[in-house]
C-alpha cells in the first residue's frame, strides 16, 4: 500500500462497542482526521456488530484489512497519523491472541474469525447498516428482484425448500414447508411475522443482525410475503433492543423511498405494508401463538396448537412466522440459489448456525459455523478455550428450554439432531460455556427460576410444577436437601415436560433433566455432604481472611457493603459471619499477590480455596 491510497475506516457502532464508548471514539476520529487534514484520503464508515464484542471498541481499516481491538481515545491520533496518513499500521495496537501472545495484524487471520463461515452474518461489520446503497452494492435486494420479477411464488417456495433451511428460532421446522402451508391455506388475507423477540438470556444474535444488517431481514420479510401472498408483514422486536428498532425503522424508510416497500413494488402487482411492534418484556411472547396475541394487543398467552398459525394466526388469518435469522438467510438464498446454502452443513441440518458464544470462554462474541461443526472447534478454535486456564465443565445451549452438555461430549457435532439426542436443543443460539467455578445445581436453579418467573400461568403443570421444582432446588442449595428430593425433581420434571401447553413449560425441565443426567454427583454432594464443589451456593460456603497471607491493605473492609469486616493496619481482618451477605466483594478485590480472602465450606473445618 502506498501512502496515498484511499482508506476506509470501519468503526463498530453495535450495542456492544457503543457501550464501550465507540460513539465518542467516532467523533474523536473525525476531529483528528480534520485536524491532520487528510479528509480526502479517508472515508469513515460506521458498521453494526462485528461479533467480537468482547474486544470492543473495534476499528478495521481497509484495504489492508487491519484489525484494531480495544481502541482507546488516546490511540486515535496515532492511528490517524501513522496508518491513515503515512500508510504505516500501528503495530502496538494489533490484536493479541490470548493463547499464544502473538500479534495478529489482519482481521481474517484472527482465529476468532478465520474458523467461522458467515452466510447469515454475511454483511455484519462490512456495511453501514444505515446506508441502503452499501447493502445494494453487496447484492442486497437482488433476491427480492429475482423473486418478484422472474419467479412465481411457488418457485420461490421451491427454492427455499431445496435450500434445506430449517427455522433458526430453535425448533428447526423446515422454512420452505412452512411457507407452502401458508400459501396453500385458504384465505384472502394473510400475514408474515418476523419473530425478533429474542428473549433467551445469553443470546444476542438477532439483535446484532438487526443492528448490523437490517435490510437483509426486511428483504426476507418481503420475499416471504410474496411467497404466501401476504398483504401485511409485522416484525416483533424486544423493547430492550432500542438500537435494533431504530436501525430497522431507518431501513424501512429508505427502502420505501426507493420503491422496494409499498405499492406495486418494482412495477409488479406485489404490494406490502410493513409494521413494527415492540415487545414489553414477556419472555413467553417468543412462543408463536403468544407473540401473535401480543401483536393483537392482548396478554401474551399461548394457545393450544393445532390450529397452527399457518392456518389460523394473526386475527384468525393464515400467518407465517419466521425467526429473524431464517428470514435473513432466505433473502440471500433467493439471490444466490438454494445450493449456496445447502452445500454447507450436514445432511439433515443444512447451512450454518449462529451462536452467541459467552460465559467462561476466552473470546466471547457472535460466531457463525457450518452445521455439524464440533463443540471443540467452537469453544477452542474460535473461542480460544477457557478463561484463566480453568477446566472446562459444561456448555449450555437453548436458553431456559435447553440443557447442559458435559465436557466429555466436546467432540459432538452441533446440529439439531445431535443436540436433541444429548438432551438439549439448538434453540435460537445462546451458547454459554461453564468452568469448574459454575455450580450445576445453581445453574439449573437459575434457568428454572427464569422459566418459573416467566410462566404465564395458563396451565397448571407449568405454573405449579416449576414452582415446586424451584422450591426443591432451593432446599438442596440451602443444605436442607434429602435423598428423595432427586427422585421428586425427576418426577416433577417429566410431569411438567409432558403436561405443559407450550414450549416454555415443555422446555423448562430440560436444565434439570440434563444436570441430573450428567452431574448427579453434584446434587448428591449438596444433599449428603452439604458441599458445593464450585463454592457458589451461599448457604454452604463462608468467606474467611487467611492471616498468613493477608497484607493488611484493607481493600476488603473498604469494599464490604455490609460492614461485616473489622480490622485495621496491624490488626487482623475478620469477617463477621452473621453480618456477611456472601456477595464475594472482598474475595474479588483482595489483591492476587495476597489472595487472603478465601472461600471455605461452611460445614467443614478449615478453609480451602
Amino acid at each position: 500500500m502506498t501512502e496515498d491510497s484511499k482508506r476506509t475506516v470501519f468503526i463498530c457502532r453495535g450495542t456492544g462497542c457503543e457501550s464501550s464508548k465507540s460513539d465518542v471514539l467516532h467523533k474523536i476520529l473525525e476531529e483528528e482526521i480534520k485536524k491532520q487534514k487528510i479528509g480526502k484520503k479517508v472515508e469513515i464508515k460506521k458498521t453494526g456488530c462485528h461479533g467480537f464484542c468482547q474486544q470492543g471498541p473495534i476499528i478495521a481499516i481497509e484495504p489492508e484489512g487491519t484489525f484494531y481491538a480495544m481502541v482507546k481515545d488516546s490511540d486515535i491520533p496515532k492511528i490517524v497519523e501513522s496508518h491513515l496518513s503515512k500508510g504505516e499500521p500501528v503495530q502496538d495496537l494489533y490484536y493479541v491472541e490470548p493463547n499464544t501472545g502473538e500479534k495478529i495484524p489482519k482481521y481474517d487471520d484472527i482465529p476468532f474469525y478465520s474458523h467461522q463461515h458467515r452466510l447469515i452474518l454475511r454483511n455484519c461489520g462490512e456495511i453501514d447498516p444505515e446506508n441502503i446503497d452499501d447493502y445494494i452494492e453487496r447484492g442486497g435486494y437482488d433476491g427480492l428482484k429475482r423473486a418478484i420479477t422472474e419467479m412465481t411464488p411457488e418457485e420461490v417456495i421451491e427454492e427455499v425448500v431445496n435450500s434445506g433451511l430449517r427455522g433458526r428460532g430453535g425448533a428447526g421446522f423446515p422454512t420452505g414447508l412452512k411457507w407452502k402451508l401458508g400459501r396453500n391455506a385458504p384465505g384472502d388475507q394473510k400475514y408474515v411475522v418476523c419473530n425478533a423477540d429474542e428473549g433467551d438470556p445469553g443470546a444476542f444474535m438477532d439483535r446484532s443482525l438487526l443492528e448490523a444488517d437490517p435490510h437483509s431481514v426486511l428483504e426476507g420479510m418481503l420475499i416471504a410475503s410474496y411467497a404466501i401472498s401476504a398483504s401485511d408483514a409485522y416484525i416483533y422486536v424486544r423493547h430492550e433492543y432500542p438500537l435494533a428498532v431504530e436501525r430497522f425503522k431507518k431501513a424501512l424508510e429508505d427502502s420505501t423511498a426507493r420503491g422496494l416497500v409499498g405499492k406495486n413494488i418494482l412495477g409488479t402487482k406485489f404490494s406490502i405494508k410493513i409494521h413494527i411492534k415492540e415487545g414489553a418484556g414477556a419472555f413467553v411472547c417468543g412462543e408463536e401463538t403468544a407473540l401473535l396475541a401480543s401483536i393483537e394487543g392482548k396478554r401474551g398467552m399461548p394457545r393450544p396448537r393445532p390450529p397452527y398459525p399457518t392456518e389460523s394466526g394473526l386475527w384468525g388469518k393464515p400467518t407465517v412466522l419466521n425467526n429473524t435469522k431464517s428470514l435473513a438467510a432466505t433473502s440471500a438464498i433467493i439471490a444466490k440459489g438454494a445450493e449456496w446454502f445447502s452445500e454447507v452443513g450436514t445432511e439433515k441440518s443444512k447451512g450454518t448456525a449462529v451462536f452467541a458464544l459467552t460465559g467462561k470462554v476466552e473470546n466471547s462474541g457472535l460466531v457463525e459455523v457450518p452445521m455439524g461443526a464440533t463443540l471443540r472447534s467452537i469453544i477452542y478454535d474460535i473461542g480460544g478455550g477457557i478463561q484463566d486456564d480453568a477446566e472446562f465443565k459444561a456448555v449450555q445451549t437453548g436458553g431456559p428450554s435447553g440443557g447442559c452438555v458435559p465436557a466429555d461430549k466436546i467432540d459432538m457435532p452441533v446440529d439439531y439432531d445431535s443436540l436433541t439426542q444429548a438432551g438439549t436443543i439448538m434453540g435460537s443460539g445462546g451458547m454459554i460455556v461453564m468452568d469448574e467455578t459454575t455450580c450445576m445445581v445453581d445453574i439449573a436453579r437459575y434457568f428454572l427460576s427464569f422459566a418459573q418467573d416467566e410462566s404465564c400461568g395458563k396451565c397448571a403443570p407449568c405454573r405449579i410444577g416449576t414452582l415446586q421444582m424451584l422450591e426443591t432446588l432451593d432446599k438442596i442449595k440451602a443444605g436442607n436437601g434429602e435423598p428423595r428430593d432427586i427422585e421428586t425433581l425427576a418426577e416433577l420434571a417429566i410431569t411438567v415436560k409432558e403436561g405443559s401447553l407450550c414450549g416454555l413449560g415443555q422446555g423448562a425441565p430440560n436444565p434439570i433433566l440434563t444436570t441430573l443426567r450428567y452431574f448427579l454427583v453434584e446434587y448428591e454432594e449438596h444433599i449428603n455432604d452439604k458441599k458445593c464443589r464450585a463454592m457458589v451456593c451461599t448457604d454452604l460456603i463462608r468467606f474467611e481472611v487467611d492471616e498468613k497471607t493477608c497484607i493488611y491493605c484493607g481493600a476488603c473492609k473498604r469494599i464490604c457493603p455490609a460492614n461485616a469486616i473489622t480490622g485495621e493496619k496491624d490488626v487482623m481482618y475478620v469477617i463477621d459471619q452473621d453480618l456477611c451477605i456472601k456477595c464475594a466483594a472482598c474475595f474479588e478485590v483482595c489483591p492476587p499477590k495476597a489472595s487472603a480472602v478465601v472461600k471455605a465450606s461452611a460445614f467443614e473445618k478449615g478453609g480451602a480455596k
Binding site: F283, K298, W315, S364, A584
Partner: protein, 155 residues
C-alpha cells in the same frame, strides 16, 4: 381488505402504554383511566394487559435507575454476587425504590451485551465488564454529583 378498525385499535394498546411510560417514567392510574376512555375499553382490560408485561411499572421510578442484567452470561460471570452487594449498598430490594426516592433497583432479563458480562445499566448508560470496585465507585460518583447539585441549588 384491512383488519376491522376495532382490532387495529386494540393492537395499539401496548404501544400506547409504552409511550405513556416513556414520557412519565411509569403508568399512573390517571393515565389508565384516560386511555380506557380513549380506547373504549374498561380499566380492568387495560390493567389485565399492562400487568402481564414486565416492562410496565405502576409507581414512579427513583431519580437514578439501576438495572442489573441477570442474563445467563452475566449470571455465570458473577452477576448475582454483584446484585446482592448492590442491594446491600443501596439498601433496597430489586424491584423497589429507596425511601428517599433516589435509587430504584431492578433485575432485568438479558440486555444482549453478553460478551461484556456482567452488565449493568445506570440511568440508561450501559456499563460492561462490571465488577465490585467499578460498581462501588459509580455510586460514589453519583452521590457526589447529587450533593454538588443540591449545594448548587441551595446557594
Amino acid at each position: 381488505m384491512l383488519e376491522p378498525s376495532r382490532e387495529a385499535l386494540v393492537s395499539e394498546l401496548i404501544s400506547s402504554l409504552q409511550k405513556i411510560q416513556l414520557r412519565l417514567g411509569y403508568i399512573p392510574q390517571e393515565a389508565i383511566r384516560w386511555l380506557a376512555e380513549e380506547m373504549h375499553l374498561s380499566e380492568q382490560d387495560i390493567y389485565g394487559v399492562a400487568t402481564f408485561y414486565k416492562n410496565f411499572r405502576f409507581t414512579a421510578p427513583g431519580k437514578h435507575q439501576v438495572k442489573m442484567c441477570m442474563g445467563t452470561a452475566c449470571f455465570v460471570q458473577g452477576g448475582e454476587s454483584l446484585l446482592s452487594a448492590t442491594t446491600e449498598r443501596l439498601g433496597v430490594e430489586p424491584g423497589k425504590t429507596t425511601e428517599d426516592g433516589r435509587y430504584s433497583l431492578e433485575r432485568v432479563a438479558c440486555l444482549g451485551c453478553c460478551a461484556l458480562a456482567p452488565v449493568s445499566v445506570v440511568d440508561e448508560e450501559i456499563h460492561g465488564k462490571m465488577n465490585q470496585r467499578k460498581m462501588s465507585r459509580l455510586f460514589v460518583q453519583i452521590d457526589k454529583k447529587d450533593r454538588e447539585e443540591k449545594k448548587g441549588k441551595s446557594k
